[in-house]
Symmetry: C2
Subunit: 171 residues, 2 copies
DNA sequence: TATTGTTATACTCTATAACTATA
DNA sequence: TATAGTTATAGAGTATAACAATA
């Protein structure tokens, strides 16, 4: 209790309005012009629900996405996959390690380029993904089910537009 | 190079379609029914740009949000703040520590409830936030500037609807 | 008993530098 | 010289259990 951070007297000269909002309503008006905040809140809600949904299959959001891409693109290289999902290559390595350890995907040497690995899903990987996709649909119903079809399509269209245009312009 | 993960021969019997998508286009069709994926991508782009924008002020997204709330709600308690921003109380403690160490906010004992602290921004905190808010506006122009007013308002309305309804129903 | 703030901790996510083996 | 994959590592972000002080 002698932590100076917790015991420091308030410098009243520095504070314009010392009014204490005791039992009054907390205002989030200052967040209104903070679009990114709402993106983050939705992301948090979505991520937490999806993590729970995928837990029974031992998958996380990123391993689920990776499995989707490998099943849909047999022979995909790690570098292609990393670029497609915007995952740093070093991080993808341990993700593939994890999926391979569980025998859901395999790494095949590419004869024409011995630096590269071609990724394929195993039968177990395809089957697990099928179940996980259903869990994802249930998750989407929970998280996005209150939206009309038009709202949901508008949301995705807007999100794609943001990313595409931002990537095209800046960074 | 004797890591079994990297040298394991592929079990061809387990793989339905061994076709290698060598130089062909990578398909992300399987992500189409994965709304959360697009939320995540937009969140990633936004977070990276905002982090850069706030760096000159020594702020992160979360410290910026916290500072906004304290400036707009003088006397706010930590527990109210944690609830308002959906931050776990233990995590908020170190965030407030950080802001207080930099003399941007102060913790005042509440006479009527000696367990609680009332949070206030200092003059330095208010001034820094003013600059950071401008940096956030510039950031928003970069990340969301390609949207029409209607699209941007629709996006925020949809995001708020998702979170409000999800909180009301489930978890 | 319940709540406020706290400590400690652990796990996930993300990012970067530097290495190897191939091209 | 450049690229594919890798190793190691560090910093954020997030979540939970358990505690002291106070209500």
């Amino acid at each position: 209790m002698d932590d100076p951070l917790k015991t420091s007297a308030r410098d009243h000269a520095n504070v314009p309005a010392p009014a204490a909002s005791d039992a009054t309503q907390v205002s989030d008006a200052g967040l209104r012009e903070f679009t990114g905040y709402f993106v983050k809140r939705t992301y948090s809600v979505m991520r937490a629900d999806l993590a729970q949904a995928l837990k029974p299959f031992g998958l996380r959001m990123v391993t689920f996405s990776v499995l989707v891409m490998i099943v849909d693109n047999p022979g995909l290289r790690q570098s292609q996959l990393a670029a497609a999902l915007a995952i740093e290559r070093p991080n993808l390595v341990v993700i593939i390690d994890e999926l391979q350890r569980r025998k859901l995907v395999v790494r095949d040497r590419v004869p024409t380029d011995r630096r590269a690995y071609a990724l394929h899903a195993t039968k177990a990987g395809v089957e697990l993904l099928e179940q996980a996709r259903q869990a994802n649909r249930d998750h989407e119903a929970r998280v996005f089910g209150m939206l009309s079809d038009a709202e949901r399509e508008g949301l995705v269209a807007t999100l794609r537009k943001i990313e595409a245009k931002y990537m095209e312009d800046g960074s």
